[in-house]
């Protein structure tokens, strides 16, 4: 019911700003490690082998297999998978920190793989900045100079880059710590520095490589909220790598779920949880509290006569959890209202069906 996984027209140069345009457009991307890696994507037979067979036959490991997706302007695109699924390799391929084996990547319609070193450096300096799992801070520099490091690489003068870095110290909430060294900060604070460093170069896209995996759960939640806040304030495009499903569901506008180098499902959190593409995904999302992810649309049934006036009103983007609360409080069925028009009704049966993971008798429908 939602948009298809791939929006069309990746290769033609498109003007930015238009929402819905893709920033990154990836097609048929392969990354194979090992001797003579080139032959694997090229050979149909080899490309079809699974990981163990491929290693046996060629000594190669395919970290990313035939992956295609688009990252749209302004969205948070989450790539999720367990360790070894190729997600970190994938994000590094985007700016060629790891050189892809085959396929195409374009940023704003410009082919990344054909860029020369100067152009590529330009891309890394101004258009895509990355936040790392292990921070990658320079231990011998102060917080301020770490944040200014990207600007220094661009050749910005010392005074100016420090002034600009100082703004971002405030933005990520590190006031008063400008002159500390990374070793004097907690993990969460270090990652704030990493985040500020990436933000300071004002990139078009922020790339996050499992940025919060090394942090304590409480700190992690703070940082996730920080990212949500930043995204709300600035609307910057983000590509976010994680192995944490809850994190993916919390942050992602769309999620690509990876397994063994392939994307097994790409869709909104609601689609992933509500309509798993295969058993692997189903297994994966089994423990997710569905009522907190799915919206009332999935529990809605057409309104019967007279129902469209009574009961509490909910927006279509409200979660099932909220609907349950409303229904429980009022004791009445809730209406789903958009622009003053009643789209449908949620009742006990529909809501329980969502929670139980079975289609309710009255179920879905009416989009």
């Amino acid at each position: 019911m939602n948009t298809p996984p791939h929006t069309a027209s990746p290769h033609t140069a498109t003007p930015p700003q238009a929402s819905g345009e893709s920033v990154f457009s990836v097609r048929d991307l392969w990354k194979v490690f090992g001797p003579k890696a080139d032959r694997v994507p090229a050979d149909q037979e080899l490309a079809a082998l699974d990981a163990a067979e491929l290693r046996e036959r060629t000594g190669c490991t395919a970290a990313v297999r035939d992956v295609s997706f688009d990252v749209r302007k302004g969205e948070v695109f989450v790539v999720m998978g367990l360790s070894g699924s190729g997600k970190s390799t994938l994000v590094r391929c985007l700016t060629r920190l790891i050189e892809p084996t085959s396929g195409t990547i374009s940023i704003d319609g410009e082919d990344v793989l054909s860029m020369d070193t100067g152009r590529l450096r330009e891309l890394r300096r101004h258009r895509a900045a990355m936040v790392f799992q292990h921070f990658g801070l320079l231990p011998h520099r102060t917080v301020l100079d770490n944040i200014a490091y990207g600007l220094e690489i661009q050749g910005v003068g010392r005074g100016e880059r420090r002034d600009r870095a100082a703004e971002f110290v405030t933005k990520v909430g590190l006031d008063g710590m400008e002159h500390r060294r990374p070793s004097q900060l907690s993990g969460g604070q270090q990652q704030r520095v990493g985040l500020a460093r990436a933000l300071a170069v004002d990139p078009e896209v922020l790339l996050f490589d499992e940025p919060f995996s090394a942090l304590d759960p409480l700190i992690r939640r703070d940082m996730q909220e920080e990212v949500v806040r930043l995204h709300r304030e600035e609307g910057r495009t983000m590509v976010f790598i994680t192995h944490d499903l809850n994190e993916a569901l919390k942050l992602g506008d769309r999620i690509a779920l990876m397994r063994d180098g392939r994307i097994v499902q790409l869709g909104t959190p609601e689609e992933i949880v509500g309509a798993p593409a295969d058993d692997y995904v189903r297994d994966f999302v089994r423990d997710v509290p569905r009522e907190q992810v799915l919206t009332v649309r999935s529990a809605m049934r057409p309104a019967l006569i007279g129902e469209s006036e009574a009961g509490p009103a909910l927006a279509p983007s409200a979660t099932v959890h909220e609907a349950i609360e409303a229904v429980a409080r009022t004791g009445e069925n809730a209406r789903v209202v958009e622009d003053g028009r009643c789209l449908g009704v949620v009742d006990h049966a529909g809501l329980l069906g969502v929670v139980a993971g079975v289609p309710a008798a009255t179920g879905k429908a009416v989009a």
Partner: protein, 693 residues
């Protein structure tokens, strides 16, 4: 005190587990040696005859019985050899007399030194630059005057290392003056400044190349590895051949000797730089140069400073030894004094060497440790006041009483020391009831240990020696180390110095045996008793910083001259490293293993022999390796105090201008060093699997 232990084994944290800076007399620092030990443990998981190159399954069975296999092959070869080759020393038919060609080369160089373009346009300039720069530094030091130099040293130490070391430095320099050694100290210092600057530059550049290029790394590593196991003495002869005796030769020998640790540590620092940080720099669009300057080099600062520290210590060791080829300064005073067995004079020159070593080491080490800690904010005012104070001291010193150390302030220790030595000679050398005397001990050691050992080795048929070398190397190391060891030993025979080499070898073996006996016992005791460990630590620290040359002074005082004192000096020199590595190895044993043994009711003895020692095996092997190489370095220098053999040939060659003899002896020393290192090299150090051997 923690700020002490210096040079860390360069690559001990890397894949190459245990290659420690052998010559520098400064192996392991607690942390790194532990890693080196555990890294070693990782590579040699199976204690007994470990499998070599993880071959396919068929070879595995063979590898398991390797010890037995080697034994059988050795026995077979013994029988075959006895039938085919007979006994006796190295056959003359297999020896090549190099003295003719070497003499001719030496003569040619002497004849052409002033005319050949190679000398005119390259080596001559090198030589001149060295002379001029040493002279310049020396003049600057003299112009500062004793007050200025002392104040400047204090100020520098205060800046990089704090108040305590500043006071130590001032006291050390004052002591040098007090002992009447101001001028020689400045001569040595001038030579050191130039040599260290050059070797840090050279080593840094080589390290940069090896750090940035894998191919350079592959080429340089074995060369640097080998250079670090060669005795300092071996470096002297080639430079003398080219430059003749004098300051240029001394400086260049020092540079070549001191550069490898800098190169190794630079390469290590660059290669070990946190990959995440470097990737982050790349992701921000850094160019290669930006990455190097803003990330990789700063990340390697600790290793770089450690490299400087090691270079300084090795340079000091060499600058002192190089007195044999005209370095002048403190080393020369010791050398001259030893030549006339004037222990008092030797000590008066030896004490400043030790003081210089301690100050240089502690200050540079402290500078290295400061890194990472945020800089202490000292106000500019304090700094300026201190600088002004120094300037005032310089000027004041000049106005008051000129530049050289005031003559009235010296303390002549030579005479009282000599009196004490005379008393010792009279009362302690022999005839002390029950214990005998030091000279008696030395005599007995020579008669009962060194003599028979030498004669036995020389009596052995030459091929059995080769066989033994090969079999031993195979048992401990790999086919490759065995091949190198056997070839090196054969080369000694070919050079025609089989007998003196075996003489040297016998001294090495005897000294190593004593060293290991005492060293293992002390090391185990220090590991098991933390009180003893704490008590030993400062002693080991001081002993590890002293240049090898200095050790000759007390042994001559105690034992006179001869082979036994040389061996004794070698034992004292090698002991600290062996004790330290052993103690760290035993202490690093997995506490869980020890705890489980204890929970099963093992006695202290059982714990030691069944758990601690077997698990510490890699460290013990490393200790043997270090011990052997360190002992060789001093046994060779023992040629100066009557050790005879190869060391004497080398000294004789230098002293008499008979370079052919000296060079052959030098080459044999190199071969002996190589052989001894390879024979004791712990297994799989050069395992192909351990990336980039």
């Amino acid at each position: 005190m923690t700020a002490t232990v210096t040079p860390v084994p360069p690559e001990s944290t890397g894949s190459d587990a245990s290659k420690t800076p052998v010559n520098s007399k400064t192996p392991a620092d607690s942390a790194t040696s532990v890693t080196s030990a555990s890294a070693g443990a990782a590579t040699t998981t199976t204690p007994a005859p470990a499998s070599t190159d993880a071959g396919p399954g068929a070879l595995r069975a063979l590898a398991r019985h390797r010890g037995r296999l080697i034994g059988v092959c050795t026995a077979l070869a013994l029988v075959l050899g006895a039938v085919l080759l007979g006994g006796g020393g190295w056959p003359t038919s297999l020896a090549v007399d190099l003295s003719g060609p070497l003499d001719r080369t030496s003569d040619w160089i002497i004849d052409n030194r002033d005319s050949h373009p190679l000398f005119l346009y390259f080596l001559g300039h090198v030589s001149n630059i060295v002379v001029v720069s040493v002279r310049a530094v020396y003049l600057v030091l003299l112009a500062l005057g004793w007050a200025g130099v002392t104040a400047a040293a204090g100020l520098l130490a205060w800046r990089v290392a704090g108040v305590r070391l500043a006071l130590t430095s001032v006291a050390a320099f004052a002591a040098c003056g007090l002992l009447g050694m101001w001028v020689p100290t400045m001569q040595t210092l001038a030579l050191m400044v130039v040599a260290v600057a050059a070797s840090v530059l050279l080593g840094g550049l080589l390290g940069l190349a090896a750090g940035l290029s894998d191919r350079m790394h592959r080429i340089l590593r074995p060369v640097l590895d080998t250079m670090q196991v060669l005795p300092a003495f071996a470096y002297l002869l080639p430079v003398v051949l080219v430059f003749g005796i004098g300051v240029p030769a001394a400086v260049l020998a020092t540079v070549v000797y001191a550069a490898p640790p800098m190169a190794r540590l630079t390469a290590l620092g660059l290669r070990d730089a946190d990959a995440g940080v470097v990737e982050a720099a790349t992701s921000l669009g850094a160019t290669g140069r930006q990455r190097l300057l803003t990330a990789r080099l700063p990340l390697a600062r600790k290793e770089l400073l450690l490299g400087v520290n090691q270079s300084i210590m090795m340079a000091l060791g060499m600058a002192v030894i190089a007195s044999v080829i005209g370095a002048g300064g403190l080393g020369d005073r010791v050398y001259q004094a030893l030549a006339s067995v004037d222990v008092g004079a030797a000590l008066a020159a030896g004490v400043p060497i030790v003081l210089l070593a301690v100050v240089l080491d502690r200050v540079t080490a402290a500078a290295g440790e400061r890194i990472g800690a945020p800089a202490a904010h000292r106000s500019a005012l304090v700094r300026n006041v201190a600088a002004l104070l120094t300037a005032a001291v310089v000027v004041g010193g000049r106005l008051v009483d000129g530049l050289s150390w005031p003559a009235g302030w010296t303390l002549d220790i030579a005479e009282p020391v000599n009196r004490a030595v005379d008393w010792m000679t009279a009362h302690l050398y022999s005839g002390v009831p029950l214990v005998g005397g030091t000279a008696d001990w030395a005599g007995h050691f020579t008669t009962w240990v060194l003599g028979p050992l030498r004669d036995g080795l020389q009596w052995l048929p030459w091929w059995t020696v080769l066989l033994a070398v090969g079999a031993l190397a195979l048992l401990i190391g790999t086919w490759r180390t065995a091949a190198t060891a056997v070839l090196a030993m054969a080369a000694i025979g070919v050079l025609g110095v089989w007998d003196p080499a075996l003489d040297t070898l016998s001294q090495v073996l005897a000294a190593v045996a004593v060293t290991l006996l005492i060293g293992f016992a002390l090391g185990v005791a220090a590991a098991r008793s933390s009180r003893l460990g704490r008590a030993l630590r400062p002693v080991l620290d001081v002993f590890q910083t002293m240049p090898q040359f200095v050790y000759l002074i007390p042994v001559v005082a105690l034992f006179g001259v001869g082979r036994a004192p040389a061996a004794a000096a070698a034992v004292v020199y090698a002991l600290p490293a062996v004790v330290r590595i052993t103690a760290q190895g035993v202490r690093a044993v997995d506490p869980a293993a020890l705890e489980s043994a204890r929970s099963l009711g093992a006695t202290g003895r059982q714990q030691l022999f069944q758990v601690q020692l077997p698990l510490a095996r890699p460290s013990l092997l490393l200790a043997v390796n270090q011990g052997v190489v360190l002992v060789l370095a001093v046994v060779v220098i023992g040629g100066l105090v009557g050790g005879g053999a190869l060391g004497y040939d080398a000294v004789f060659g230098l002293a008499q201008g008979d370079l052919a003899t000296g060079l052959v002896a030098g080459a044999a020393i190199v071969c002996l060093g190589l052989m001894l290192d390879r024979v004791t090299q712990p297994t799989q150090r050069r395992d192909p699997a351990g990336k980039g051997a």
